[in-house]
C-alpha cells in the first residue's frame, strides 16, 4: 500500500487555479521532491497535503485513510509532520527546551501538570537522542533565535522528528542558506532518509539539493504536473528543460 495518495486535487483562489488536477503517490521509505518555477503551485500543493488549506476537489489518502478534510493537528497524530519555508521554532527558548517541549507534546504530556520520574527520564533520553541526531549537542543551551539559519533549520527538523512521523514534509529546507549551510542541511536530510528509513516529501528550489537527494521528482508548472520520474529521467526530459531547467541552469 502506498503511504500517501494524492488524487486529482484542485485548489482555486478566485480566478487563479493554483493547483490544477494534480496527483502524486509516495511509497514508504521514498524521498520525493516537488520542484517547479516560482508560482507553480508548490507551496499550495504542500499546504493541501498538510491540511493548512483544503482542496476544492480531489482526495488525499494517507496510510489508507481519507484525510482530505482532516484538521492539521489531527494529521500530525496520524504521523504527518511538516516544516515551513520560514523556519518555525521557539526563538526565545534554548535548543534543548525546543526539543524537550516537542518530545513532551509528542508523548502526549501536553496537558500534564506532573510527570512520573520514569517519564521525565524518557523525555530526557529522547531529547538527547534528537540533539545528537541533529548535531545540535554543543548548542543545546543556546537560544534558538541566536543560532545560524542552518542550525535553526536543523532544530525545526528535529522538532518535527520528535513526533516520530511516518511522513516528513519539508518546505524548501535550504531556502535562504549559504553554500555550507545548504550542504550541511542536505547531509542531514539524507542521513535521516537513509538511517531512519524516513519517508520524506520536499519542495526545493536548489536543483543540486534535489538531484542529490530525491528518489523521484515531480515537476509542477502553472499548477499542473509537467513531468514525474527519477532524477535521471527528469534531467533528460525535454519539456522540463524547456519550461524550467533550461532557465534555472542557464
Amino acid at each position: 500500500m502506498s503511504l500517501l495518495e494524492v488524487g486529482n486535487v484542485t485548489k482555486r483562489f478566485g480566478s487563479l487555479v493554483a493547483v490544477d488536477d494534480v496527483s502524486m503517490t509516495v511509497e514508504p521509505g521514498e524521498l520525493r521532491a516537488v520542484i517547479g518555477p516560482n508560482g507553480a503551485g508548490k507551496t499550495t500543493f504542500f499546504n493541501l497535503i498538510s491540511g493548512f488549506t483544503t482542496p476544492d476537489s480531489g482526495s488525499i489518502v494517507f496510510g489508507g485513510e481519507d484525510i482530505t478534510r482532516l484538521l492539521p493537528a489531527r494529521r500530525v497524530w496520524r504521523g504527518m509532520v511538516r516544516t515551513f519555508q520560514i523556519t518555525e521554532v521557539f526563538p526565545e527558548l534554548t535548543v534543548y527546551e525546543n526539543l524537550q517541549i516537542s518530545v513532551e507534546i509528542a508523548s502526549g504530556f501536553g496537558l500534564r501538570i506532573r510527570l512520573k520520574a520514569g517519564d521525565v527520564a524518557k523525555v530526557r533520553a529522547r531529547t538527547a537522542e534528537l540533539l545528537d541526531m541533529g548535531g545540535l549537542g554543543p548548542k543545546a543551551h543556546r537560544l534558538v533565535g541566536e543560532l545560524s539559519h542552518g542550525d535553526q533549520r536543523a532544530t525545526e527538523i528535529m522538532m518535527a522528528l520528535a513526533m516520530r512521523p511516518r511522513l516528513l514534509l519539508l518546505d524548501e529546507p535550504t531556502a535562504g542558506m549559504g553554500e555550507q549551510e545548504t550542504y550541511d542541511t542536505t547531509l542531514l536530510i539524507r542521513k535521516l532518509h537513509r538511517d531512519q528509513k524516513l519517508s520524506i516529501v520536499l519542495i526545493e528550489h536548489d536543483m543540486r539539493v534535489v538531484f542529490h537527494l530525491a528518489d523521484r521528482i515531480m515537476v509542477l508548472a502553472e499548477g499542473k504536473t509537467l513531468a514525474e520520474g527519477t532524477p535521471k529521467e527528469i534531467a533528460a526530459d525535454e519539456t522540463v528543460q524547456a519550461a524550467y531547467l533550461g532557465k534555472a541552469l542557464a
Binding site: 493537528a73 500530525v76 521557539f90 526563538p91
Partner: protein, 317 residues
C-alpha cells in the same frame, strides 16, 4: 538565561521582603494597608501575566473577573451569610464560571481582536454593576458590610481589627496563588503554553489543539484575578464599580509591562511601583495618573523588558 541558583536567591529575597513587610513599612513612610494593596494588585498582575507573558495572549478585560471577585464577595457577605470564606468562595467561583463561558466564545480570536472582545465583555459587567442600583449600589458602590473575623474553633483570626493579621491573611492567599501558578509554569502543560507564546503555528503543527490550551490558561489566569478581587473587596470593605471598568484592566496590563512581563516576579515589582507611586502622588495632585503615564512611557522607551528585565540582562552579561 538566569541560572537555577540565581532564581532561587531571587525568590528567597522576595519572600523575605514580603514576610517582613509589616515590620518596616511604617519606618519607610508607608502603612500596612498599602503593603496589603501591593500584594492584592501584584496577585492580579501576576495572574494577568500568566496569560500575557507566558501564553502570549493579551487581555484588556481582566478587571471584569477581578470585579466579579469583588462584587461576589461583597454581595454574599452583605445579603446572604456573614462569612468571609463564603464570600471569597462565591466571588472566585463567579469569576471562574464567567471566564469559562466567555473564554469558550473568544479563544479562537487573536491579537487585537481578542483584546477588544475582552474589553467589550468587561464593560457588560461594569454596566450591570453601575446600573443595578437596588442590588449593587450603582455608582455609589456596595457598602454597609465588612470582612469578618475568622473562627477556627481553636483560635480566632481577627482580620477585621488588626491590619497586620489581615496582611498575613492576604499574603497566605497570595502565596497559594503564586505557588500554584509557578508550579503550573514548570510543568509540561506550562511549557506547552510557552511554546504557544513563542510560535503558535509551530505548536499547532506539533499536534496541539492550541485553543484548548489558551482556554485553560485564560481560566487559570481569571481564577487568580478573581481571587485578587475577593481579597480586594475584603481590604476595602467596599465594592466599587470602577473595579470592573476597562481602565482597571489597563492598570493590570501597565503593572505587568512596567515590571517586566517576561519574568515571573516582574508584575509584583510593577504593582509595587504603581501602587506606591499612586499613593504618594495622589496626595499631591489630582492628576496622579499623568505621572504614572509618563513613568510608563519612559520605562517602555528605555527598558522595553520592564524594570526586572534590566536586572536580568545585567545578570546575563
Amino acid at each position: 538565561m538566569r541560572t537555577r541558583s540565581q532564581k532561587i536567591v531571587a525568590a528567597v529575597l522576595i519572600w523575605c521582603v514580603l514576610l517582613s513587610m509589616p515590620l518596616w513599612i511604617n519606618q519607610v513612610g508607608g502603612y500596612t494597608q498599602l503593603g496589603t494593596r501591593v500584594l492584592v494588585m501584584a496577585l492580579a498582575a501576576m495572574a494577568l501575566n500568566f496569560l500575557l507573558g507566558f501564553t502570549g495572549v493579551l487581555s484588556f478585560g481582566h478587571a471584569a473577573y477581578f470585579g466579579l471577585g469583588v462584587y461576589g464577595t461583597g454581595l454574599i457577605i452583605k445579603y446572604v451569610v456573614s462569612s468571609t470564606f463564603a464570600g471569597m468562595a462565591v466571588g472566585v467561583l463567579t469569576a471562574v464560571v464567567a471566564a469559562a463561558m466567555i473564554g469558550y466564545l473568544i479563544v479562537h480570536l487573536r491579537g487585537i481582536y481578542f483584546a477588544m472582545v475582552t474589553i467589550a465583555f468587561g464593560q457588560v459587567f461594569y454596566f450591570i454593576a453601575y446600573r443595578w442600583n437596588g442590588v449593587t449600589g450603582g455608582d455609589d458602590g456596595l457598602s454597609g458590610w465588612n470582612r469578618l473575623p475568622i473562627d477556627f474553633g481553636v483560635g480566632r483570626l481577627d482580620i477585621l481589627h488588626s491590619p497586620v493579621t489581615f496582611y498575613y491573611f492576604v499574603l497566605f492567599f497570595f502565596a497559594v496563588g503564586v505557588g500554584l501558578m509557578a508550579m503550573l509554569l514548570r510543568s509540561p502543560f506550562g511549557r506547552t503554553l510557552l511554546a504557544i507564546r513563542e510560535n503558535e503555528r509551530r505548536t499547532r503543527f506539533l499536534g496541539v489543539v492550541v485553543e484548548r490550551h489558551i482556554w485553560l490558561s485564560w481560566v487559570i489566569s481569571c481564577t487568580f484575578v478573581g481571587l485578587a478581587g475577593a481579597l480586594y473587596a475584603l481590604l476595602n470593605n467596599f465594592a466599587d464599580p470602577h473595579d470592573l471598568r476597562w481602565d482597571q484592566s489597563g492598570e493590570f496590563v501597565i503593572m505587568a509591562v512596567l515590571g517586566g512581563m517576561r519574568s515571573f516576579w516582574g508584575p509584583l515589582v510593577g504593582a509595587a511601583i504603581f501602587v506606591v507611586l499612586q499613593d504618594y502622588v495622589s496626595t499631591m495632585t489630582e492628576n496622579w495618573m499623568s505621572f504614572i503615564g509618563m513613568f510608563f512611557v519612559l520605562v517602555v522607551l528605555f527598558f522595553p523588558r520592564g524594570v526586572l528585565g534590566v536586572f536580568r540582562r545585567r545578570i546575563a552579561t
